[in-house]
């Protein structure tokens, strides 16, 4: 597990959550692996205990981690479908906020779709 | 539960760590001034000193020193984990031991200095100063004289207690320097002048009437001061 924090890049706990999540998706953090305790995390990153706790709590609520009282916090076992389901939900969330922005700024659904396809194809070509 | 700190460690901590920047300068001045005066007067004030009176004065001095030290804040002394009861007992014991300690130390210094003076006299004039003149030993001062001496000593202790427990730092300092020390000096001078000029111990006895009434009034005053001062002090120590 590795985490690097930047003061400029938004709130601390979001950065931690994002990086742990990314490491779970990439398989760098294996299911069942124990993570450092909240207090150790806080000490190692020089952050507040509540900040560290919040990051873990959010990830536990998401089902990415689970905690065993008296033992520690572990990476949750996840089935492939669940993982994909989780990702799809996240994507839906992101897209709906983009759609909201489009609606508020008077961009028509057609224009929105057009831009969506453009982005998809650009990325497809690149990869 | 942790074990208790011993009495000796407690007093040593108080005496050695109390020298803190935050201690009132005036208090130190008065304590040093008092010590100096006592040393000088013990040395040159003549032998027949009213013993009990001096004992009281030493007690007063130690009260002033120890209580002044407990006032320095923040100080390590106040962080010692100890129950208030034990703290009070330790401080009272400390004052007792300190009084005796200071007395012994002063007597030793006096003997040493007297010895040196005698040696110098012997070396320069060949006169044997070690032989004391007959009759200059402590003359009998009688029951009334002894009582008077005891009461004077107790008055010192009472005054010290009252002064040491004053809340106002400035007032405390000024009182110690301006009333306390000269009072003591005056008493010493009176007794020694009497000693030198009339061959009597207490010129003071001749100047003020020391009837039973005066003795009773003085002893009641001393007792009241001590009781009142002690109660105040215990309250402050426990806080």
């Amino acid at each position: 597990m590795h985490i690097h924090l930047s003061l400029q890049a938004g709130s601390i706990y979001e950065q931690i959550e994002y990086q742990i999540r990314a490491q779970i998706y990439s398989g760098e953090l294996k299911p069942g692996e124990m993570l450092p305790s909240i207090r150790t995390l806080a000490k190692e990153l020089t952050i507040g205990i509540i900040t560290a706790k919040r990051a873990y709590d959010d990830l536990i609520a998401e089902g990415m981690l689970y905690s065993v009282p008296g033992k520690g916090v572990f990476v949750a076992e996840r089935r492939e479908e669940e993982l994909i389901q989780g990702k799809l939900e996240k994507l839906k969330e992101k897209l709906s906020s983009a759609k909201k922005f489009a609606d508020e700024n008077g961009i028509s659904p057609e224009q929105f779709q057009k831009i969506f396809w453009e982005i998809s194809e650009e990325n497809h070509e690149r990869s | 539960m942790s074990k208790n700190i011993g009495f000796f460690d407690y007093i040593v901590t108080l005496l050695t760590t109390g020298w803190n920047r935050s201690l009132d300068k005036r208090e130190w001045e008065s304590i040093l001034c008092l010590t100096f005066l006592m040393a000088v007067l013990v040395l040159f004030g003549g032998d027949p000193m009213p013993v009990f009176c001096i004992f009281g004065a030493y007690g007063a001095l130690s009260i002033l020193i120890l209580l002044s030290l407990t006032r320095s804040k923040p100080a390590l002394f106040h962080l010692i984990p100890i129950t208030p009861r034990r703290k009070t007992v330790y401080l009272f014991l400390g004052m007792l031991f300190f009084t005796i300690g200071v007395m012994i130390a002063t007597i030793l210094v006096e003997l040493l200095v007297a010895g040196i003076i005698c040696l110098i006299v012997f070396a320069t004039s060949g006169e044997n100063a070690f032989v004391f003149e007959e009759g200059s030993a402590i003359p009998p001062i009688g029951l009334q004289g002894t009582l008077f001496s005891v009461i004077l000593g107790l008055l010192f202790v009472g005054a010290a207690l009252l002064i040491a427990t004053l809340k106002n730092r400035k007032l405390r300092g000024i009182l110690t320097v301006s009333i306390w020390a000269p009072l003591y000096a005056l008493l010493q001078i009176l007794t020694s002048v009497g000693n030198i000029e009339k061959g009597k111990i207490f010129l003071l006895f001749d100047t003020i009437p020391h009837s039973e009434v005066v003795l009773i009034v003085l002893s009641v005053a001393a007792a009241a001061m001590i009781v009142f001062g002690t109660v105040k002090m215990i309250k402050q120590i426990k806080n």
Binding site: S11, K43, G48, I50 | M1, T13, T17, S22
Partner: protein, 280 residues
Amino acid sequence: MNGLEINDLSVTFKTFRLDATLQVPQGCITGLIGRNGAGKSTLIKAIMRQQEEMSGSILYDGLPFKGNEREILSKIACVFDSPHFNVFCKAEIIIKFYRKIFSSFDMELCRSLMEQFSLPLKQRVRDYSLGMQKKFCLILALCQKPSILLLDEPTSGIDPYDRGSIVELIQQFMLDETHTVLFSTHITEDLDKIADYIAIMQEGKIDLFEQKDALLEEYRLVQCPYLTEKLQEEAIGVRKSMFGYTFLTKNREPEGEDILVKSPTVEEFFIHFLGEEEQK
């Protein structure tokens, strides 16, 4: 549970009056900020029972002081703004005293920390530099193995490198969740990083006490060239400069032209918060 529970604590001397009620949660680091003379040191001294005249109550890990004096004095430790022992003594003598006074004193820890910070044992504490004195006091406090640690300006006058190690020592101490830390500071940079709660003191009173993350999330720092009426309404502690206005707002998405919105740091929050109080 609260590590420290201060109820209607009141201390008066001369014209200054401290009137504080504060709950310091156990297992957390609470930062006390305020301007010079706001009463931070007085509050800490009162908690350490160094004030003669005080009323109100303080509970230490739930225990009142009266009747538990010995237990409480062995569980609280403090780094005061100046050394609270005879600085003419050599460091090793002071350590010896501490060993006698506190039976829980950890000599091993003390030795290793003295070495880590390269503090000479045979030197008088008075001859230490200011930073060294601060570090020595902190080492003494930590080696007492307290459960409540109070720090009065632990990082002021100390270079950034040593400040880092002091912050690390405090966090090391916090690895035990029954421990509590309350520290006062001017250097809010340290608070930005490690504090969980923030208390702002002004003129002897606690003006604000909140969780740091929540506080910084609730407010936004706005910089804008013009102050529209709408912005003016929401603005807290407006400061004017040649290039426009800077202020705090509770509105998370303020609108306006050429406007820059970001999360405030503790320092920015503090400055604007006090600015607003003063305008009132």
